[in-house]
Amino acid sequence: MNMKFLPAASLKDWLDLLRSHGTLIAPVKEKDGFIAFRPDPDFEDITLDYQNTVRPIREFFLPHSETLFNFETVQNGFDIERNKPEEPLVIFGVRLCDACGLEALDRAFSGKYTDPYYTERRKNALIISLFCTEPHPACFCEGVQKLMTGPKGADILLYPVEGGFLADPLSEKGDKIIGESKKLFKEPDAEQLKAKDAMVEKAVGAQSCIVDFSLLPEKFKELPPSSPFWREEGEGCVSCGVCSFLCPACQCFSVQDISDGKSGKRVRCWATCQDCRFAKMAGGIDPRPEKGERHYHRLSHKFADAPARNDMIFCTGCGRCIRYCPSHHDVLETLKKFLEYEEVKP
């Protein structure tokens, strides 16, 4: 599949074309400077001047809360009605880390059983990524997933270059979409391709990764959650779960019935394993009462269990859990210390 060049002046036309494929979702800067993906924005409101949004795009596939089905109690039983399928989505401006998060969720939600809600939205969505030229110091996507050099999860990746974008179709679907609007795209010249390579190289160089992730699965087995390492690690945590709520690759959810006694709905919503109630069971037994144990759970899930189960680390290096943590807990620092930690046996 070949890279094409989209002149900046054609971006609006292309986006307009894309709108016919579904609801366009793109980053918009709000009055107070807050940037978020919003559905159906005016072209003028779309911003390309952002490092990344606070909220990853996973919310469009696994919403904060969604109705699994509506129900109504009737004589001797109940009626269940599933929500109607939604419009397909075209998401523009997705950073590589967020696109990669979808890749993780794709795996998480199609195991022995498949999540129909996620899968349906995902199947119908078109993901257009935008290369990240200036990663935040906390970013480590290249280190953990090699995303700068091997992007995944998106259908098309745009590299911003002089005068426009280099559009790299990453999937057949992406290729087809570019093919559909041939008129807008041009063949790239060598200069542009060179600029793109330089840009990638510079971005890769801007990131630092201090952890050898391949060592982690063994280490997690070696140092269980009951280790004093984790107890100390958890002490500065406020158990808010911002790390998992903002994570592009977190899948966990809770289910709750909302009902007036007669009719209602079964709703699922995001859940965080950092919440002390996450694993608490009916009857009050709590398998992970300590914050450190919950840290262990989260990190072992992402860096040891997911690779074993889903053949992929469930972390995309977006850095959100470092940046937005009220305590600025640094996942890489933790993992580095973890790998270096030697348990003193009494």
Binding site: T73, D260, G261, K262, G284, P289
Partner: protein, 656 residues
């Protein structure tokens, strides 16, 4: 799911008239948890209650909702009914479809809609109800009677005779109250003192009765069966154990002031007994006027007292008593006739109140029973009685009838006639109300045999002219103005609540009505109880009453107290606060707001072995106000019977 049965009462036509009860029952059938719904003419009747019992059996119901009158009327009835079917009484809920729907809404459609909503809310609450149970509490079998008038004395005697101790608190130096001030009593014309004094003496002698005169209740804590009262015994400046009541002290005392007992018609000394038959018949020093206290000199009484009983440096004594029941018998005040400015600017020596009249005509009063004009001591030839002064008068904020004035005015005309066979006696009246045994006959006698001239009409003006008072009024029967030059005008002042009744109500936690009379729990069915358990009303503190009514209500309240004392123990309130200790963080918010100190902090062990403090409620002390439940941010302390969840469900149901 709970299995809820719903029963909608027609209340004859009271509800049915504006609420389509069948439609309400029909709607109820679709509410979550409802498995049976029906409507019936009188749910509270035996057949109605049997209908509930049958349905419980047939449909295996475990919650019952009745839509009928106000729960304040029949909630206990239906709670007892479901208890018969072995259901916890708190599995019963009531929807108020009469007082709050059918009687206040005329539009049948809207009323039906509101009724459906009310039933929906009751069903929602019932669905979340839990079985509640009482705890056994001890009862202090001792009563406190506040007020030593005829009502208080009677109540104290009744309780004492049944064998239980009574504390009788009277704020004046003697018991006796209003009745002691009266000359004769209607309709028999017995001498008031002759029938009251023996009762006073009996009360004083009864070993079960402790009388604290010149004393006031200062604080009341606790609850039914377990009150703790604080009584301040004001310093009498007399050693009661030494005083023999010889009376030398007040004979010799140089200070004279108006006597409150004589309604200002006579005088007393600074050291005094208020009236000769006083119980206890021992004096008290009025420190406000006594020269020893005001100027630091005199001391004659102490010098003269053969028993050395005068103790100037005596201090107030504050005692606490534990009692199980309280009878409030604080009586009434007289309407302040000065507020009628059109009556001689509110005051004139020859215009007296009916109670002053009693003192002036009483043989032991300041004039030894010789009725004379206060201004010049002349025998009155023309006497005008004016009824309804401060009664049945909206302008004065006293729209109610004081009930005693018609009768005592008739009595007073007879008393006058007996002294002055030739005097002219006029009575201005609005209506004559003589409902009572032999009352009407008595009044007719005053008019027919004693020739009191009754004029129907209001007096619009009284003004002095020469040595007379001109009474201007109108005879509404003859339809002409009337003008009488009177020597003496007697105003039949109405009765009103004690000026400090409100303060006492607050102290006791009982309610007052708009005139500050104490409110009974139910106007018809619980006339001597208050809404607060263990506190009963006797006499005129509740509403104006004559002596036989006072005595009857006093005995009735005594019977209520005795009924309480007859129980081996008391069942505590089931609707009390409860703490989920596992979730309590020990912030003590509940403890801070509890008015009964029912919350304490207790140490418990954490799951991890640590010690933490949590709140705990003493269900015997808790009175179920729920202030704690609203103060607890974590929702850890909740009020049974009105749980956060129940109220939330009611809110939800209200808005469906």
């Amino acid at each position: 799911m709970p299995r809820i049965g719903v029963f909608i009462c027609h209340c004859g036509i009271n509800i049915e008239k504006t609420v389509d009860t069948a439609k309400v029952a029909e709607a109820a059938r679709s509410f979550p948890g409802v498995v049976f719904a029906a409507d019936y003419k009188y749910m509270c009747s035996d057949p109605g209650q049997n209908m509930i019992l049958d349905a419980i059996r047939e449909y295996n119901l475990d919650r019952i909702v009745v839509g009928a009158c106000s729960p304040s009327l029949h909630e206990p009835t239906f709670q007892a009914c479901v208890a018969k079917a072995d259901l916890n009484p708190y599995f019963f809920e009531m929807a108020n479809l009469r007082e709050q729907v059918s009687w206040v809404t005329h539009d049948r459609e809207m009323a039906t809609e509101k009724a459906i909503q009310a039933v929906r809310m009751a069903v929602a609450k019932a669905g979340k109800s839990e079985p509640l149970a009482s705890q056994s509490l001890p009862i202090t079998k001792k009563a406190l009677v506040i007020g030593g008038g005829i009502s208080g004395i009677q109540a104290a005697l009744d309780i004492a005779e049944a064998g239980f101790p009574v504390i009788l608190v009277e704020r004046e130096p003697s018991i006796g109250g209003r009745m002691a001030q009266l000359d004769k009593t209607f309709p028999t014309l017995d001498c008031s003192a002759c029938i009251l004094t023996p009762k006073m003496v009996e009360a004083a002698r009864n070993p079960n009765i402790t009388i604290h005169t010149y004393a006031e209740v200062e604080n009341v804590a606790g609850f039914i069966g377990n009150f703790e009262v604080t009584i301040r015994k004001k310093a009498r400046s007399i050693d009661m154990s030494k005083c023999t009541g010889c009376g030398v002290c007040y004979e010799k005392c140089p200070v004279k002031v108006p006597n409150k007992f004589e309604e200002g018609t006579g005088e007393r000394k600074a050291i005094y007994v208020p009236f000769p038959q006083a119980v206890p018949n021992k004096p008290v020093i009025d420190r406000e006027v006594c020269l020893h206290f005001t100027k630091g000199k005199c001391g004659i009484c102490a010098k003269m007292c053969p028993a050395e009983a005068v103790v100037y440096n005596q201090e107030d004594e504050v005692i606490t008593e534990k009692v199980g029941a309280i009878i409030v018998a604080t009586g009434f005040d007289l309407f302040d006739t000065k507020r009628y400015e059109e009556y001689a600017g509110g005051a004139h020596p020859d215009m007296i109140t009916s109670l002053q009249f009693e003192r002036l005509i009483n043989a032991s009063g300041p004039t030894q029973g010789k009725l004379r004009r206060p201004s010049d001591g002349k025998e009155p030839e023309t006497i005008v009685f004016i009824q309804c002064v401060g009664s049945r008068d909206d302008k004065m904020g006293r729209p109610y009838c004081s009930r005693i004035c018609c009768m005592y005015t008739a009595k007073q005309t007879i008393l006058v006639r007996e002294k002055f066979p030739n005097a002219r006696i006029f009575v201005f009246f609005m209506d004559i109300r003589t409902a009572g045994k032999n009352y009407e006959e008595f009044c007719r006698r005053a008019i027919e045999d004693y020739n009191a001239e009754y004029i129907r009409g209001r007096v619009s003006k009284i003004y002095p002219s020469g040595d007379k008072l001109i009474v201007e009024g109108s005879d509404t029967i003859l339809g002409r103005p009337v003008e009488i030059a009177a020597d003496l005008v007697v105003l039949a002042a109405g009765a009103e609540a004690r000026a400090d009744a409100k303060d006492l109500a607050r102290m006791l936690g009982i309610q007052t009505d708009q005139y500050n009379f104490f409110s009974e729990a139910h106007a018809k069915l619980r006339p001597v109880e208050t809404m607060t358990g263990g506190i009963f009303l006797a006499g005129a503190c509740q509403f104006p009453r004559d002596i036989p009514d006072c005595v009857a209500s006093a005995s009735a309240s005594a019977a209520k107290a005795l009924a309480l004392f007859g129980k081996p123990e008391l069942a505590s309130l089931p609707t009390v606060a409860k703490v989920d200790e596992s979730r309590c963080s020990g912030c003590m918010a509940c403890l801070s707001v509890c008015p009964y100190s029912a919350v304490t902090m207790e140490e418990v062990k954490n799951k991890s072995g640590g010690i933490r403090e949590v709140a705990r409620v003493n269900p015997g002390v808790c009175q179920g106000c729920g202030a704690c439940a609203a103060a607890c941010n974590a929702g850890v302390i909740d009020l049974l019977g009105y749980t956060n969840e129940q109220i939330a469900c009611q809110v939800d149901a209200a808005l469906l």
